[in-house]
């Protein structure tokens, strides 16, 4: 019969009595002692032999681990995997890592505290505790205190436990059997749980939706929206010119963007010369720039027969015409900077070396389509 028994329950009506009883029964080591009381009873934890919780140590351990892992991760990211000097500081600047270390420490510690408390120490989930099905549960949840000797092995002696509880002054004793069902996690139960969760979500969502649609929404803090300030791209009555944004001081130049020193392509032609030597690498760079930016309109060989002619009906310049071939390098550069006719400026799309490489490549195309006799293979 012993294996069919979950525990033996003894009921008491006074807190002192259950503490004394527990102190009296514990040395016999009949089984695991557990107490069910409607209110906390001082000293009962020590009386049933409950050790101080290990949760604190676990949380400490995981917190330190979180800090260490965060430090390791940040060191690896910022000093090994993607070294990036920030404000001239060393790659491994632990002071900057502290906030993240703190966050990860808290993350690990709180998760450990919650999870370990629920699953490791309290042994949850525990569906349908057998004591809930005992006759004594009504009394326990009202005014009685119960001491239970739980079976921990096959050698559990029900009679001895029964006797020990009576000897300790229990008012009544009940033997709680192990529940007879063997599949606490049935498929139907799981499905019902899931259905209940889904239903709860639907109800909550519908309720929120209805509330938002039907009830007036009062902004909680109107003063956040009402800020008397100048927006850069809005009009404003504050300044006489009616604009919020202040014009830059005359002569201001954007950092890294020297304005061109010429006003027309013709002027650029008289001023500039190609500073890049025509070596293989520059020619290849020019081929790439030309292919990426110019060929779509000016044609692969620069003959002004555009790949896009049907789509946009343009007639781009023919680099092979005598007129355009006669122009100096700087003129091409000027057109790239300033645009010409329907061609837009490429000042923002290319850097200067790309432009000069493209000029070299245009010269190569002109040579290829207008080769000297000795060039023929």
């Amino acid at each position: 019969m012993s294996s069919g028994t979950f525990a033996v329950l003894g009921l008491y009506s006074e807190a002192e009595k259950i503490v004394d009883a527990a102190n009296q029964i514990r040395p016999h080591k009949l089984g695991r002692l557990e107490a069910y009381t409607p209110y906390p009873v001082h000293g009962l934890d020590r009386a049933i032999g409950l050790e101080p919780s290990r949760l604190g140590r676990l949380v400490m351990l995981m917190g330190v681990m979180g800090a260490g892992l965060a430090l390791l991760f940040e060191w690896w990211v910022s000093a090994v995997d993607y070294p990036l000097v920030t404000s001239g500081k060393p790659l491994f600047s632990w002071q900057a890592f502290v906030p993240v270390m703190f966050e990860v420490t808290v993350l690990f510690a709180t998760f450990t505290a919650g999870m370990a408390m629920l699953f490791a120490l309290n042994k949850l989930p525990f569906f349908g505790h057998p004591v809930l099905h005992s006759k004594a549960i009504k009394d326990i949840t009202r005014d009685k205190l119960a001491l239970s000797i739980e079976a921990t092995s096959a050698a559990f002696d029900v009679e001895a436990a029964h006797q020990a509880l009576i000897d300790s002054g229990a008012e009544s004793v009940e033997i709680v059997p192990v529940p007879t069902w063997d599949r606490p996690l049935s498929l139907v139960g799981l499905l019902r749980t899931i259905a209940a969760i889904v239903a709860a979500c639907v109800v909550a969502g519908a309720g929120l939706y209805a509330a938002e649609k039907l009830m007036p929404i009062v902004p909680p803090m109107i003063h956040m929206e009402d800020q008397p300030k100048l927006n850069a791209f809005r009009e404003s009555s504050f300044f006489p010119d009616g604009r919020g944004m202040r014009p830059a001081v005359a002569g201001t130049v954007a950092r890294g963007h020297l304005p061109p020193a010429f006003a027309t392509p013709e002027e650029a032609g008289t001023l500039l010369s190609n500073p890049l030597p025509l070596i293989q690498a520059i020619a290849e760079r020019g081929r790439k720039v030309f292919g990426d930016h110019c060929a779509i309109c000016h044609g692969t060989v620069g003959n002004g027969v555009p790949l896009l002619s049907r789509a946009y009906g343009g007639k781009p310049g023919n680099f092979l015409s005598n007129e355009i071939r006669a122009r100096p390098d700087g003129h091409y550069f000027g057109v790239l900077m300033l645009g010409k006719n329907a061609m837009p400026s490429y000042a923002a799309d290319l850097d200067n070396d790309d432009r000069w490489a493209a000029v070299h490549y245009i010269r190569i195309l002109q040579r290829a389509q207008n080769a000297k006799d000795e060039d023929l293979p």
Binding site: V178, L272, P275, R287, I324, I364, A368, A371
Partner: protein, 313 residues
């Protein structure tokens, strides 16, 4: 049943075991998913070889015969002179040819019917000519005038020179353009017509040699004259001119090319302006634009003088 009764497992421990196995299983599954879907593909991606930088040699072979730039070399030839009798006066064949050429070359600015309202017309200043009315023609609308305009373009406007079109085709365009305007074109100047006819008779049209672009690159790279970098004086040299050169020149290689290309362009101020205009890409410091005339003349003298010295031996 007797077996079950003899086992010491209780109902609670079974539930606990289930829960434990579930937790362990889901943990393992999440770990595997993380590594299988994110970490391992990322590592594989990292290890994939980088795309090869474009190399010069196989470019032609890799793009294949579709690349216009790599069509085989062809020898140029001279087309025989045009017989003026066939092109000086409009005929239906010539006008049909002119219409095709007009659609290809002119409509983007001058519009489908020559009213100067093509898609690109809005970007042009001055606006393209309206061929349907007699006002404002820059060179006039006689045969020789229009032929000149098509052949040489109009300076200061968006009108380019269409010298790459063969003369007979240019004449087809001339007649087609004239046919667009319903107004009276007036009498032709016989002298201009005669000069045009003589021009046709005297000269054919030259179709130039063509070579693949990769070959042109090779030729031009070989022909390229390497300009030795400017030899700046050593840092120990504290003379005023050495300091000035060190201040004005940021890249001796580029500056050398710039000096070689621009020194023959005219007087001191033009050269100085050219050098400052191209900075810093041309090897000179942008700050050099603030130097005064005396300092510039010192720099120009030092650089040009050195080139002369280098040329002597």
């Amino acid at each position: 049943m007797s077996d079950e009764q003899s086992t010491p497992t209780t109902w609670g421990s079974e539930a606990k075991g289930l829960a434990n196995r579930f937790a362990l299983g889901s943990g393992v599954a999440v770990t595997f998913l993380l590594f299988g879907l994110i970490v391992v593909p990322a590592l594989l991606r990292e290890r994939r070889p980088l795309p090869r930088p474009p190399s010069d040699q196989p470019a032609a072979a890799s793009v294949g015969w579709l690349d216009q730039a790599e069509t085989p070399a062809s020898k140029g030839r001279d087309l025989p002179p045009v017989d003026p009798a066939t092109v000086m006066t409009p005929n239906p064949k010539l006008l049909a040819r002119g219409e095709v050429l007009f659609k290809q070359n002119c409509t983007s600015c001058h519009g489908e019917s020559g009213q100067g309202n093509g898609p690109a017309a809005g970007t042009l200043n001055p606006r393209p000519r309206n061929f349907t009315q007699p006002a404002d023609w820059k060179r006039g609308f006689h045969v020789a005038d229009i032929f000149t305009t098509i052949s040489t373009g109009v300076k200061g406007t968006g009108m380019a020179a269409f010298d790459f079109i063969m003369p007979a085709d240019r004449m087809a365009l001339v007649h087609y353009v004239r046919s667009l305007g319903g107004f009276d074109h007036g009498a032709e100047d016989p002298k201009a017509l005669q000069a045009l006819a003589d021009q046709f008779r005297s000269k054919g049209f030259h179709i130039p040699n063509r070579i693949p672009v990769s070959l042109a690159i090779k030729k031009m790279v070989t022909e390229q004259a390497m300009v030795p970098p400017l030899q700046l004086r050593p840092a120990e040299d504290k003379s005023a001119s050495a300091e000035l050169l060190r201040f004005a020149i940021v890249d001796p290689f580029r500056a050398a090319r710039t000096v070689a290309a621009t020194t023959n362009r005219g007087d001191l101020s033009t050269v100085a302006r050219a050098w400052a205009a191209g900075a810093p890409d041309n090897g000179f410091a942008p700050a050099a634009a603030g130097l005064n005339a005396a300092e510039w003349s010192e720099i120009v003298r030092a650089l040009v003088g050195r080139r002369e010295e280098a040329r002597q031996p």
